[in-house]
Symmetry: C2
Amino acid sequence: MPKAKRQDSTVLTDDELTSLNAHWRAANYLSAGQIYLMANPLLKEELRPEHIKPRLLGHWGTSPGLNLVHTHLNRVIKARGRDTVCIWGPGHGGPSVLANSWLEGSYTETYPDVTRDEAGMERLFRQFSFPGGVPSHVAPETPGSIHEGGELGYALAHAYGAALDNPGLLVACVIGDGEAETGPLAASWHSNKLLDPVHDGAVLPILHLNGYKIANPTFLARLPESELDELLRGYGHEPIHVSGDDPMTVHRALAAALDQALDRIDRAQRAAREDGATERPRWPVIVLRTPKGWTGPGEVDGQQVEGTWRSHQVPLAGVRENPEHLRQLEQWLRSYRPQELFDEHGRPREQVLACIPEGDRRLGATPHANGGLLVRELPMPGLERFAVPVDKPGATMHEPTKVLGGFVEQIMKATRERRDFRVVGPDETESNRLGAVYGATGKAWQAEVLPSDEHLSRHGRVMEILSEHLCQGWLEGYLLTGRHGLFSCYEAFAHIVDSMVNQHIKWLRTSRQLSWRAPIASLNYLLTSHVWRQDHNGFSHQDPGFVDHVLNKSPEVVRVYLPPDANTLLSVADHVLRSRDYVNVIVAGKQPCFDWLSMDEARVHCARGAGIWEWAGTENGGREPDVVLACAGDVPTQEVLAAAGLLRRHLPDLAVRVVNVIDIARLMPREEHPHGMSDFEFDGLFTRDKPVIFAYHGYPWLIHRLAYRRAGHHNVHVRGYKERGTTTTPFDMVVSNDMDRYRLVMDVVDRVPGLAVRAAAVRQEMADARTRHHDWIRAHGVDMPEVAEWTWAG
Amino acid sequence: MPKAKRQDSTVLTDDELTSLNAHWRAANYLSAGQIYLMANPLLKEELRPEHIKPRLLGHWGTSPGLNLVHTHLNRVIKARGRDTVCIWGPGHGGPSVLANSWLEGSYTETYPDVTRDEAGMERLFRQFSFPGGVPSHVAPETPGSIHEGGELGYALAHAYGAALDNPGLLVACVIGDGEAETGPLAASWHSNKLLDPVHDGAVLPILHLNGYKIANPTFLARLPESELDELLRGYGHEPIHVSGDDPMTVHRALAAALDQALDRIDRAQRAAREDGATERPRWPVIVLRTPKGWTGPGEVDGQQVEGTWRSHQVPLAGVRENPEHLRQLEQWLRSYRPQELFDEHGRPREQVLACIPEGDRRLGATPHANGGLLVRELPMPGLERFAVPVDKPGATMHEPTKVLGGFVEQIMKATRERRDFRVVGPDETESNRLGAVYGATGKAWQAEVLPSDEHLSRHGRVMEILSEHLCQGWLEGYLLTGRHGLFSCYEAFAHIVDSMVNQHIKWLRTSRQLSWRAPIASLNYLLTSHVWRQDHNGFSHQDPGFVDHVLNKSPEVVRVYLPPDANTLLSVADHVLRSRDYVNVIVAGKQPCFDWLSMDEARVHCARGAGIWEWAGTENGGREPDVVLACAGDVPTQEVLAAAGLLRRHLPDLAVRVVNVIDIARLMPREEHPHGMSDFEFDGLFTRDKPVIFAYHGYPWLIHRLAYRRAGHHNVHVRGYKERGTTTTPFDMVVSNDMDRYRLVMDVVDRVPGLAVRAAAVRQEMADARTRHHDWIRAHGVDMPEVAEWTWAG
């Protein structure tokens, strides 16, 4: 470990230095205490095995470094009076963030039973990683956090999301050198190309190179420093190095580095805000090299631990059984001299607390890390302005996402001053036909602009980058700090963020159970350019499985909507943008699509989530239908209605019911999802014993998985996407996957008792039509006119 | 667009230059032709609307740049006689790769009906993006490709995977500036830290900055060049720039750049191989700036197209209807002077073909891009050496993945000379208890080594980086070029590569249908550190949904195994490592687990995929059981056996059958998955009408989705993970999710007709036990001894 290199210009007085070091020692003591102790928190007695937790679970290695950063952030926040939030990338170091929150008092304010005294300290220690206690990572339960530190990769994207439209905010972001190896983190560095120094806050990355991951050295820690500097400069940053293993030297250097970084940030913001500078600033990054497991046991059982990967979790593992380990632990804990740090009642002494800022400025108390406290209702325009007129179902067509674009534009306009709404997308906002939004704002862009460019803007609120990870990470950070947004994405590539949305759902699930966490705006996906219309792209772009993925997760949080036309999409969008603490997934097409429902009808249908389209069926009055044609999704709805039309023509005495499902969770049992229908409702829609032919947008098994408990489930026959895809025509896609109108009619004939014989000719006619279409498409490269020109005849 | 800057030292003769340019023009002509024409391929007649495809689908923008690279790779391959494979990152430019393959003859060799003459050219044009034809992207159907160019992000990781253990191979990799914004690509640059200049081949990244994505400028194209250079140097590369829009100048510069790059690579390899140099070389990267849509229409309808994002797909969209567009298209196509490039029979002229290398050296013909031609059987050791002895079920415990580690070590040893087997993992090989492998090889590492490091090796074949994306990408590239591997990963974080595995499954599904693509080794996942044993990590690390994700995909390709103990894990691993063209997912624990089956029994059980464990049940002879206890996964198996033990004790006259499922697709109908059981087999195992209590490793709905068609499905009651997780004890986890032994016994009481009354006291006892455990765990922080010490009593 090299010695600290940079001599500082910040003059810390001896008192300040002593006090900073005392705070750091206290945080280190409390971090180690949480991992090991369940009693004797102040070491008033000699340490005995019964004071030690029976299972030692936690991560020490990163904690002293996080404590160091926390201590020094306290100093600069207090000195500069600057609102700050910190993203703790190495959230495995949960003990550290908890320790600091307890020290500054925010923990006790949040959890009054964990008092800032000896009893509270014992509780703090005991509850950590203990059944019924708190998780070992930074988590929703942790005051001051918006970033679960379990899965790695998203710290810096979250930091940028928090900084957007928060001009007064400093977002510090500790990036572990393990996390820095992930793809999402590696891409996040370029977020600074979109950061507006006028309207956005600042992000200060602190790259913490403690050198090791779980069991390996890290890539960045082993680069020659000159190469690392080139990399960071290439990312658009100016590196400031702090390295060392002597605490006092490192304290001095880190204090100086932070002052230098914040001065640089101040200058950049002033230049942009006051002097009208338009050049992208070279923002600072602090590179902090300190030993992994610093101040912990240097050697255990003859092997080096401090400064290596061996300190990653619990450096002394056998404390309860091994007296030498116990002795080493006691020596380690006493090395912090707890009696100097806490009074006899366990209260932190004044010197320890001297660096801590006041009130909401404390990192554990900032409302920016509890965004629900800040969130405001979005100014939502009336839907009528954007609704498409529908006098008769299926007589006109619109591109649903394009209609939605006008609505989104209006929200953008209405938030022009407030700046609390953003649209993110992986270079697809225009492709997804939301381009109207550029009437209200541009695309964020701080790099070079050429005359041929369109809609680029230094102050724009549309965020575009070819990275679903960054779109997701930015939006999460933005929402968690109390703002609103919409993520539009090609359906297939939402899977890129499967793991991220898992973590966000887990976060929401947990935070909903915490009374002190105020509800935040929902994370809203618009999945478009979907599986059925990948005319340009083919098989690689066909995957409707994101819905399956999220529906495995906490039903308290997850909502999935498949609006079949423009007006229902508007109504759904209006609903989800007003909602809180959900992950809403909307699947809707961008291609021209029949308008089925008027705005009033759409509202009612969306509120019900599923319903009978009487005008489309041929039921006569009270008796049950012979067959139910159900549909969910725009293309399935079109095919089902076409099938209903064919049945009306060919089998006019058959009583056909058409059911459209827009809120897919309605199919689930009420006990499994809050939107689930009662069996009574379900049977009322789908009958208990009639054949149900269900055309579903995605993988057909999903419908079975949702509806398997229903009385009529064994009669449900589902058609959907079954991985039969390529570059072909829209109708060929539905034919290839057996979801076309003709196939659906054949299914009806096959499933309705008695029809097989009576309707054999109809069935044959349908089969012939499929062959005719297949041959035509291969010969002409387009769908037959009878499909292209089909309209619902009623 | 700046002029070409670098004056070359490569002296191209005028003939060479003319010939290279002819090849490029021909490729450009053929690329545009594929997008537009279905007749009149040589423009022998004036262009008329009926020559134009009715739907214009494809991506022109990137194609001229890809053609340029292809032309120049041809030159250096021929000049240097070097085996080369190219990864075409911007695979949207499918027309380009197809055009080049047709020019060099490899296309006709692969698809003899697409002849290298006028008729073949017409077929080449017509089939592109046409129903029944070929996809618009580079795809498995494309000769010379191992990289589907649909989803972006994985080009460079694939390139490194191809280069590993291929010392004679050059892997060129074209990276689009759109793709460069993705996380996986951004992280991939650091792959060079693991590339062994002695045993691995070279990767030459060609960063193609054409400046635009779908609708936006790209980040990297708009960096100041000095900043881009810093970035690339920070990635460990030496940039070589080629920029311009004058073809002859760019030809000269690119030829020089390629020579310079290959000379540099040769020097680095010689230094390492002959002179024993150990310093990591600074590998070259070519930065190629040419206009997007170069040589296409400059302006359309008054808007600039060439050199902007507007050339991304089809620059002239209205050709069939708009005479002016038709005229422009004809002018554009004739600008390549096709009559100079092709003879009157449509055969490419000699000058066009002059730069093309011979035989297998052609990029469309290299066997490295059809890895099944090169793959060899792995030398598999006998399992007996590694098997754990099992005289009696449940009497001993082993850590299954640790046992597997010995087996993997032996394969590593047996491939020491061949070097065609690698283990990849995101810093988890040791954590996942496969550390024995270090007895055979080290961890690949070309950076600084400190004395405290362990198992790092310049020539190691274990690949560790904290990026699931890179692990997956490297392994895919390695397998696709004919080698073998194993990816061990924390179960929850396999979701990080959901989208990547989608693409690989799609690739395999398609390539299995192509007779010329020889089968490659399967992609094998070992998912461990699973949902039930996240003692250190808690909720964020709990997600068993990867299995659900892959089981939605092509059943021809996907296999999922849940071995319940060490010997079954060995048998499954042995099977999957011998298999071809599958994606195999193994879920297995690393924690101590009961040994249930001897090696012989394990082999039989694995071959069957599911079976009755007679020794665990209480059936007497022929009659059907009263209840079936089914299990899949190690923890569920343990709980089911404990429940069976409780039932034996408390309800000795109840006939209980225990069924273990190891191959989860066995539950599916035979028509839906090749491993699916017949209904006869299913009913034989699970009965048609008895209650089935099924303890499953993951989300319970999966079992319903797989088995919903079975006669007895309505009797199946599934317990599994339902997102009730935190940092707690192992038994508390199963209790929280209602999958514990007591709950299973209660389920039996609730479901077996007549038992509710007769066994009410037993049920109460079980409920009390759950409460007792819950309270004990919260008080003591560990499981009760009766769980910790439980063994199967038979």
